[in-house]
Symmetry: C2
Subunit: 338 residues, 2 copies
């Protein structure tokens, strides 16, 4: 499960009370490891995603930021004009050793019992913060830049592309076995602009990572991607995440069988009676088909989600038998992607 | 243009300073008429949409609400359990005479120079407020009700369906010539649940309105409808609104040519240089094709949008010649829907 909104575990809440700074929690090895392992100990999923943030690497490329309780991330010096590009420098991985060290420890702790996942933001999504100076609901500054300062925006995106590719390879070399790329705000672009301002940079990242780490599956996620599915496939990733606003059967039909799909279970369903969740998991697994499906929520776990519902999700997942779900399947063995 | 977020006009801002209560502005005939006419006087569009809100009819069915500056609408007595249904009553159109009277005045003021549009919220979307007690980002209470109290939710939706159909017919009888149904939060449902919890009620409304007012075109809009387009067509409406997250060419391909399309221009583009906006309007008009297209933004006008960009939008729209945009079109005459 993606649990970036994962303030649902009481163990996490207790730890967050003692360490109220998100930056501290996400940049201190002991805390990263502890928080990452909390859901693994509780639910024994077969994937463990490092506790981090898509903005974590920014200071290492010359873009310092703060997190305000009220406003979220604040970037004091947004990049909007040519002269602002001078602040950027190649990613300094020394400054991200807390990520590398955490991944190495996690890899040892988890052993062969689960896959360790790293993640990054896509260049467009990271750029929305770097340009707007924080979160935005309109994206009007960065969208205007596409026309008023396209060379500055291209330079920023290219810089982020190189940095993010390096950061992924660093995560893999430190122990990550699968990488998720979150182009969370890619869906805020009209699709023809996404083709122009986001997709090429994701493609470059995929291609750079493939050269260095051909064995590592790459997952691409975009919020509200009902208008983008076919275009996402063109990035060359292995797996496409679906949130719950696209039907899994439609998604599979539109994407074909030669690519993996992930997600799709509505996180709000974890507030419903448990048998409803069981049915929904079966529905999504059947719709995704027998090949290339990573069962997951369509988005992060919501605040206040009951932990027993999360536990139930994993119990049902572990009990899935393909031979009972798919009539044409005689073996209960699960096939895997990649 | 849908301008529910239309705080962009300085004339409106001045009026809102004098009358700071949104309820007062949207429930007083003189103010409704004045605010509705402001963009018409300034930009001379060929459609004029009454200044109102999708929650405006709620007190007339027994659901009082307040608007807080910080939190938006607040419904003191949300409908969540069977006993709450007792508060509902058939829509009392006497209490909505300010809408009827405003439409009659607007119809006279506008004459034959433009079409007068009314609008309503879809039952599901209205129900999200009535159940959650206000705005929500998770919809977890109403989504849980689908499973824990389906009969209560069905009863609420049926009640809203009847009330909204009556309210539409009342608007038409008062002078509205076209009706928009906003199922703004329909896209928050997984598509198979939208089929079950929203679509049937919209269909019932369309069918009831068709019987009484067969001449009135009905437009259906859903935020982020990339996963829902084909399903929306099944409601029987005349026109489907597209926000900017679906490409117009994809939308037309998925919907076919036997239905109208509306919208699609990214409201954020109004912050870009004017020639960019011109190009985008041409792109969308070409992609929508020669038949059944209402040129519009993909969502409401954003706060701080420059009024000259809005004026430019309408100038470009008025100057469109189909014979220069479409190679196979010899006449410059625009064909119309319905």
């Amino acid at each position: 499960m993606m649990r970036q909104a994962g303030r649902y575990m009481s163990a996490y809440q207790k730890l967050a009370e003692k360490h109220p700074s998100f930056r501290e929690r996400s940049e201190t090895v002991d805390l990263i490891v502890e928080i990452t392992l909390q859901p693994w100990r509780a639910f024994k999923p077969d994937g463990v995603i490092i506790f981090s943030d898509i903005l974590t690497p920014l200071p290492a490329i010359g873009v310092p930021f703060e997190i305000s309780d009220a406003k979220g991330p604040i970037i004091q010096s947004p990049v909007q004009f040519e002269e602002h590009l001078e602040n950027l420098h190649p990613i300094d991985l020394e400054k991200l050793q807390f990520v590398g060290e955490s991944l190495r420890i996690l890899r040892r702790e988890i052993g062969e019992n689960a896959a360790l996942l790293g993640f990054v933001g896509a260049p467009w999504t990271i750029a929305t913060y770097v340009v707007e100076g924080g979160t935005t609901s309109t994206y009007k500054t960065i969208k205007r830049m596409c026309y008023t300062a396209p060379h500055v925006l291209r330079a920023l995106l290219s810089h982020l592309t190189k940095a993010i590719a390096d950061y992924i390879i660093f995560q893999v070399n430190s122990g990550a076995q699968c990488i998720q790329i979150f182009d969370s705000w890619g869906g805020q672009l009209p699709p023809h602009l996404w083709e122009d301002w986001s997709k090429p940079y994701i493609k470059q990242i995929v291609s750079a990572v493939r050269k260095q780490c051909p064995q590592v599956p790459i997952v691409l996620y975009i919020n509200g991607n009902g208008g983008l599915l076919e275009r996402m496939k063109g990035t060359g990733v292995d797996v496409i995440g679906l949130d719950w606003t696209v039907d899994m059967a439609d998604g599979r039909r539109r994407l074909g069988n030669d690519i993996g799909v992930q997600g799709n279970v509505d996180p709000a369903l974890l507030f419903s009676p448990l048998p409803v969740l069981t049915d929904e998991i079966h529905r999504v697994v059947k719709a995704a088909g027998r090949r290339g499906h990573i069962l997951n929520l369509g988005h992060g776990v919501l605040v206040q989600t009951p932990e027993e519902a999360v536990a139930h999700f994993f119990e049902v997942a572990r009990g899935l038998r393909y031979d009972t779900l798919f009539e044409d399947c005689k073996s209960e063995q699960l096939e895997t992607v990649g």
